[in-house]
């Protein structure tokens, strides 16, 4: 039987594991191919703040030795990944996209980084991000914009901008990011890859620089749902792994389309979304419309909580280093610092009441669905703070409520559009199983042309 040619930059984790076991490729060769690709594309997309070729090659050599001795640590043994600049990595700079932390070197790994290293993942470097993760655009006043591999004149979305851009450009098999208002799912959608935000605290936040404690989630990027599941199970602590949920049949899936999130979207997004609904309906998925009345409170509640909590993190620097923030971030932090405690607490009340209404929907539905992005990636020069707010309209609900959510690329020609699926709190495994079913229906996304 002919062996399928292996593309080390685009193969799945399962295909790479088999190739490594069969000695069709060494980990060093695999890592070198990704480092070479990094060197080719990074000048065009600005996805990395700190490539780490030396560290990656050292890790690859050690993991090759283990493999030669018959030891395979996990599904991620020898798999190249990238890490957002938000996460502490031992002995390296972790600037969180800021000028203020430009020279900060952390002496430890974030919990998720330590877990991924222990599982045998090879870290190719730290990826670019919006300053302190406090923007959804992929622009950064200090280090320049990250550019979309589908069209380098356009934004990637953020704040995990470099993570999504690198993966879409063929650098790394997966990526670690964070999501407070959509910072994994939006760039995943705009760059045409899968982005998953688990339930609140399902992945340890220790070692990730905070933006907003009660909204911050870690998240993952991959090229398919099975790849995301494999990375998740290596990033999570033992008690938080997914287990093996029974994949539902398509006709068993009950999806509620959030009507308010399907209006005021760009023409390309609307057309692609209709194609998506037709495809899953034709496959037997039961699709109904839902219109929760408290959805209109989401943006205000999320903004008040996020801005107030972020200002608490930055209170000292706002007094002493205000000029070292980029303009939009500085203004958001000042706004947060002036939000009265009563407004913050009332926003927490609103969050609870929204959670009750949305939670009730999951009594009869498996997933809530909507387009992830409201428009395709915008030209860089046209994006400002207001555009950014519109970009994440559909992604703020899930982190506000702590519920799991995933964005899948809808395959088609043209700039990428994502389909978002959300599940009930703690239902991560069931949501991923449902997403795998949907992914099989709609098929794999094409690779970026870069």
């Amino acid at each position: 039987m002919a062996v399928k040619a292996l593309d080390p930059l685009r193969a799945s984790i399962g295909e790479l594991r088999e190739a490594l076991r069969a000695r069709r490729i060494s980990i060093r060769e695999l890592v070198d191919s990704h480092l070479e690709r990094l060197g080719q594309v990074n000048p065009k997309i600005n996805a990395f703040t700190l490539p780490d070729a030396e560290g990656a090659r050292t890790a690859a050599a050690a993991l090759d030795s283990e493999l030669a001795a018959g030891e395979l640590r996990s599904a991620l043994h020898g798999i190249p990944i990238t890490v957002k600049d938000l996460f502490a990595t031992r002995g390296q700079r972790t600037a969180a996209g800021s000028l203020i932390l430009r020279d900060r070197v952390t002496g430890h790994d974030a919990d998720v980084v330590a877990n991924l290293r222990a599982a045998g993942a090879v870290i190719l470097g730290k990826t670019s991000m919006d300053e302190f993760a406090f923007s959804p655009t992929g622009l950064n006043a200090h280090y320049g914009p990250v550019r979309n591999p589908w069209d380098t004149s356009r934004v990637t979305g953020g704040s995990s901008s470099g993570a999504a851009a690198a993966l879409a450009a063929g650098v790394g098999i997966g990526a670690l990011g964070s999501d407070t208002g959509g910072s994994v799912r939006l760039p995943a959608a705009l760059c045409g890859v899968v982005g998953f935000k688990p339930s609140y605290d399902r992945l340890s936040r220790r070692g990730a620089f905070p933006l907003s404690w009660s909204l911050d989630h870690l998240g993952l990027f991959g090229r398919s749902v099975p790849d995301v599941c494999a990375i998740f199970d290596c990033a999570a602590s033992a008690e938080n792994r997914l287990g093996e949920p029974r994949p539902p049949a398509a006709r068993e899936l009950r999806c509620g389309v959030i009507e308010d999130y399907c209006v005021e979207v760009g023409g390309e997004v609307g057309a692609r979304w209709q194609e998506f609904i037709r495809a899953i309906s034709a496959a037997g998925v039961r699709v109904t419309a839902v219109a929760p009345k408290k959805l209109k409170l989401v943006i205000a509640a999320s903004t008040a909580i996020m801005f107030a909590e972020a200002a608490a993190v930055h209170r000292q620097w706002l007094a002493t280093r205000r000029e070292d923030y980029g303009e939009p971030i500085r203004m958001r932090l000042l706004q947060g610092a002036l939000i009265p405690a009563t407004t913050y607490l009332r926003a927490l009340q609103l969050r609870r009441t929204i959670a009750e209404e949305i939670g009730a929907l999951f009594e009869t539905l498996d997933c809530l669905i909507c387009p992830t992005n409201t428009s395709v990636a915008e030209p860089i020069e046209s994006v400002d703070a207001k555009t950014g707010g519109r970009m994440i309209r559909n992604t703020r609900l899930a982190p506000l409520l702590g519920i799991p959510a995933i964005s899948l690329p809808i395959p088609a020609r043209g700039l990428p559009v994502g389909a978002q699926l959300m599940g009930p709190a703690g239902g991560d495994a069931q949501l991923l199983a449902a997403a795998a079913v949907v992914e099989k229906i709609i098929g794999p996304a094409p690779a970026a042309p870069l």
């Binding site: 605290d201 205000a300 009332r346 927490l348 009340q349 609870r352």
Partner: protein
């Protein structure tokens, strides 16, 4: 220079927490900040009767 009621409210809030704002910052912040406070107040007035207490308990590690 204070030019309207929202800027005056913003200036007073800044003074209350000891935060210095220049005129340009005040002009940019006033509408966004006061608008947000007003929206939250209106939302609570509309839904307040059924709003449960916020989740802000010590020891809470999982949401919701």
């Amino acid at each position: 220079m204070i030019t309207n009621d929202r800027q005056e409210r913003t200036r007073m809030l800044a003074g209350a927490v000891g935060l210095r704002l220049d005129d340009a910052e005040l002009a940019v912040l006033a509408d966004a900040l006061c608008g947000l406070i007003d929206i939250i107040d209106q939302a609570c007035a509309e839904f307040g009767a059924e709003a449960p207490e916020p989740l802000a308990r010590p020891g809470l590690t999982r949401w919701p």
